[in-house]
Symmetry: C2
Subunit: 332 residues, 2 copies
């Protein structure tokens, strides 16, 4: 798999150097050197939001540091969780005196290192709470929702939690908003072609020329089924059939919709997929905010797409439409 890179061992550092040099709103620092935070921190007394995760998913995770989104991000190697030092760097950078919500995807390594960092933060007298992104319906059964992985839906949870923090809610209030947003969000993806970790010898999975895998995770974790490549409309229908019942979406309900590209899938195809999703929702009398469409959570050059739905009530709708600004998503 061809990559436009230098030494694969410098991939993360060079990517980060380019990212912060391009975006004056982002600063790189921390003892680990692996923490991106806002160059203009949120006001003193505002609850901070720290996140983190492996590299290779841009704009996730670190691109969503900004006003009305997250405050700081701990950065791991490609497809590896951030170190505990990177996590405590992010917590410290996110602290404005009102406590820090640690909001990240439900992966074992990330949990272990954030938990260690939270113990360190207690020594600094920084109050912390944790909310895990668990939106991927393919990764565990509904009754084991706490075992589910976080995928693209976490971006929607960032938006809701960031708006709650910007409103001036306290740590318990921001955590409650994030929990509610995550509980109202479900995602499912379809993969058409793999990606390759820069230091690896081979792509992260194999798939035949005429196949797709429904429900595959963003690191190539096995999905629900593998089948012949089907039409965009059938993929859209299959995604909606999995997601809508889980959220108990009925006529008159309102959704926030994210049609996300995994990396190599052209924007044209995301719009073709969206067209069917929007038509089906309209036919069912389900309302939606202007959809969010593009490459928001990727797996480098993986081909495929995911659909995330958040079921809105008045509170979540207000949070999702509040003004916010980061390098890769602005709401005004």
């Amino acid at each position: 798999m061809k990559k436009l890179i230098n030494d694969p061992n410098n991939y993360v550092e060079e990517m980060l150097a380019g990212l912060v040099s391009a975006h004056a709103s982002l600063s790189l620092g921390g003892e680990s050197g692996r923490c991106v935070s806002r160059s203009q921190p949120a006001p003193s007394g505002q609850v901070g939001i720290a996140t983190g995760g492996g590299s290779g998913h841009l704009p996730l995770f670190t691109g969503y540091v900004g006003e009305g989104f997250t405050d700081a991000c701990a950065i791991g190697n490609v497809f590896e969780g951030p170190t505990a030092q990177s996590c405590i760097d992010a917590i410290r950078a996110a602290d404005h005196g009102a406590g820090v919500l640690c909001l990240y995807g439900n992966y074992g390594g990330d949990r272990m290192n954030f938990d260690t960092a939270i113990e360190m933060a207690e020594l600094d007298d920084i109050a912390c709470d944790t909310v895990l992104g668990t939106d991927d319906v393919a990764s565990a059964a509904p009754e084991e929702g706490n075992k589910r992985r976080g995928v693209a839906g976490i971006v929607l949870v960032y938006k809701a939690a960031g708006a709650a923090a910007a409103e001036g809610r306290d740590l318990a209030g921001v955590a409650a908003a994030a929990r509610k947003a995550n509980a109202a969000t479900r995602s499912i993806g379809v993969a058409l072609a793999p990606c390759q970790v820069p230091t690896a010898d081979a792509p992260n999975f194999e798939i035949a020329d005429n196949e797709m895998e429904f429900g595959m995770g963003i690191h190539g974790e096995p999905g629900i089924w593998r089948s012949e490549l089907s039409s965009a409309d059938k993929v859209a229908d299959g995604m909606l059939e999995r997601l809508l019942p889980e959220l108990d979406v009925k006529r008159g309900d309102k959704l926030c919709v994210l049609v996300n590209g995994l990396g190599a899938t052209p924007l044209e195809e995301l719009y073709i997929l969206w067209r069917r999703v929007g038509e089906r929702l309209a036919q069912a009398g389900i309302e939606y905010l202007p959809p969010v469409i593009g490459n928001y959570v990727t797996s480098m050059e993986m081909a495929g797409a995911s659909l995330s739905l958040m079921k809105l009530d008045d509170e979540l709708e207000a949070l999702m439409t509040a003004p916010a600004k980061c390098p890769f998503w602005s709401v005004s």
Copy 2:
């Protein structure tokens, strides 16, 4: 090459339906049904900007319809110029009583059909002028600059021309700004992997697993040389060595920089490429605006990247930094 689509013959119509359904600021219309225009047109008396081109390059061309960018876009089939009917639809939609600048890439089919449309527009008493994007240095020698193709740099020219129109300049003034912006802009691309037209049986070119092609066009037109895949730093250096002398860029000059992904190349790699570009510019004492980095002009799932530079003077800098808003680029 796997695509998440339905009937390939419906590719453009379904993409357009999804695009305008997702973005309330865009409307689809015209007698051709292949014209996207602003849902809230610019004020009466403002010069209009009409553009157009083949599909398969999103966000180009039609994504740059918006405030401070273009007013309407004629849409062709994948990698084919728009019809004359589509071009006259775009000119009519862009007309607010002060004339229309037709601003599009220098391709034969596009020129022929826009020229026919301009003759039709004269019968409607719509004054027109034409500026062609000719930024691709690989497509002809410097002394034959008018034979060069337009590639990613046209997005920068849209920005400059759109700002000039929003300022209230007359048609001659907007055309002059667009000509100046285009004359100050150069681009070069590198391709790593091909794409495939949805109705075609095979990818649009072949390239070995260890090769890249320097200077390849956005439809797979032959480049300057083909070589072994080299490092991102060497690619960046090679691009700068081609572009800087053409623009006679010296210490103290200021640039607008676009690091563009062709479709399948991850954002991480664009930042790695940018890192070297930014370092080299800084070492040479060359200033730059915050760089524009992402997938702005693509060729569906083609892998690779391009670098575009615009050499700024005070007028161009003011135009490039003026507020503007379209679905894929906002300047505030």
